[in-house]
Symmetry: C2
Subunit: 320 residues, 2 copies
């Protein structure tokens, strides 16, 4: 983006899928032109530590220290503390590597000293040499609660402990009413420097919706002059990663990119679907949004960069 | 000890030296006949974790999982979390191994759930398969503060961060006035089943004195019918481990086993010195206590067992 003196791109991200496209964006944009806002509604307290899975996945990915095979956590990780915790009778359903533990220990320490989550994230990212700005959606705690056929479960209980097995019937973001959207994030949404807002191919229900549910965000997006572009997390009726497709089926939605587009209706200006869903383009256009068809599956780094370039090109075209 | 139907031996311990003799005692006594009470005045909070160095050294040693070369910490330990903490700007002067971290995480979690330190220690020891009873001297926090030529320092700051370099002029046990001695410990001191109280060769000022300073302990020791036997931590004018000798010099005490005996005057019935200090025996006897001369340096496991046997023999002889 080079149309304005200091153009800005803003990406909304959950964990793995969002981190992939964010990495692509970070490779094709100067660091000072990209801000990633990450969902924090799946943050939780575990063994006395404050854990922020989406923030960490984006941070590790954009710092180049992530485990690219499993998609989360750190490359070359060891698991000695977790093995010892198991022997000591602690809960070990949430996988905590030794180096990852350091992140949670340091975060918890800095938070207990009175620093905001934004400040803490900035300090951690700086320590890892990350240049892109990563913002938690809010400094206030928000907790996704999943309504299931086993009752309401906290998100990590549903997601990790129960491996997404219970059938979902809805979601609640506890604390969302009183949580303040990150002010830097809101400022950027309203800034004339903003050239594009990108909803990464993250889970619409538990990764993107919490960000959208913060007071002021939908209004700011409605007022925003930059194009808002979403990349479908559903490809050929399946989610690339995570429970989005399973959730859609349980919520009695068609498991299609079109249904995701409908979920974002009135919000996004352009919806990007994978080549394998090209046949859905006319129907999605009929919903009243622009559609772009391209390869959205990001297997290699080149895939990430190509999709990032494509999305930025769409934004440029739409602004023209 | 087999004179009574259910005889009991009680050992007072700090860290490394105390753990060595406690291990010897655990090898020559049935587990149900030995209780070790450990100093907790050097416990501290670090990175949000509650750390109990002396309890852990005794627990690791008596569980057989300790690092025998360095004297503290765990055998086969890894240091990946600490390396990551350093990168994240955390304080790393206190060495925290990955498996050791699990102990502190689990302890902190259980304490935050409302369990007492005694209950937590029991759970940790059980998890490690340790059969001997290990009691923290108190469930209430007590903090050793060291008066030095650099001002008053918290114990771990003095001991680990400053490597005992500042010259000491005194000690204060913050919280000792309101701390309650462990009730099981006090009960045992007053029990007719008690056959021996052993002050391990730990630092008199910062390991044994805090235990003695708890309300009721000195009275109970004075009333106790079992022989009270101390093993000198000073051998040939030197401490085997730790700053005891340096502290004595800075406190203007002669750096001798005799000076330690004098420190324990009125409290112990028998003082055990190393063969190399045999010449001090008459002077120590003149102070008004029995003296035993034996090899007190514990290099091998056999040394630990031999000294434990010797101390128990003294107790038997004195009771006869």
């Amino acid at each position: 983006m080079a149309d304005s003196p200091n153009p800005q791109v803003l990406a909304f991200s959950g964990g793995v899928g969002g981190a992939k496209l964010s990495l692509g964006l970070s490779k094709v944009l100067p660091a000072e032109q990209l801000t990633v806002v990450a969902n924090t509604a799946d943050d939780f307290d575990h063994l006395g530590l404050r854990i922020c899975p989406d923030l960490d996945t984006v941070m590790y990915t954009l710092s180049g220290v992530n485990n690219t095979e499993q998609g989360w956590g750190l490359a070359g990780e060891s698991w000695n503390a977790l093995a010892a915790l198991e022997q000591l009778g602690a809960e070990t359903w949430f996988q905590l590597g030794d180096r990852d533990l350091a992140t949670h220990l340091r975060r918890t320490e800095l938070l207990s000293q009175g620093h905001s989550l934004t400040e803490v994230s900035q300090a951690l990212c700086q320590s890892l040499g990350m240049a892109v700005r990563l913002l938690p959606m809010s400094d206030d705690p928000v907790s996704t609660c999943v309504s299931t056929d086993e009752g309401e479960l906290s998100f990590q209980h549903y997601f990790v402990r129960r491996q997404c097995e219970p059938a979902v019937s809805g979601f609640r973001f506890a604390g969302i009413e009183s949580a303040k959207a990150n002010p830097d994030f809101l400022d950027l949404l309203l800034s004339p420097r903003l050239q594009a807002v990108i909803l990464c191919p993250s889970n619409p229900f538990v990764s993107i919706d919490p960000i959208l549910a913060l007071a002021g965000v939908r209004d700011a997006l409605a007022a925003c002059q930059a194009p808002i572009i979403a990349v479908s997390p559903i490809v050929a009726g399946m989610a690339i990663k995570g429970p989005a497709a399973k959730m859609m089926a349980e919520l009695n939605m068609p498991v299609t990119a079109e249904a995701v587009a409908e979920h974002y209706l009135g919000l996004v200006d352009c919806f990007v679907v994978d080549e394998s869903d090209a046949k859905l383009a006319p129907q999605i256009e009929q919903l009243g949004m622009r559609v772009d068809v391209t390869q959205t599956i990001m297997t290699t780094l080149a895939d990430r960069e190509r999709l990032a370039d494509r999305v930025l090109t769409i934004a440029r075209d739409m602004a023209a």
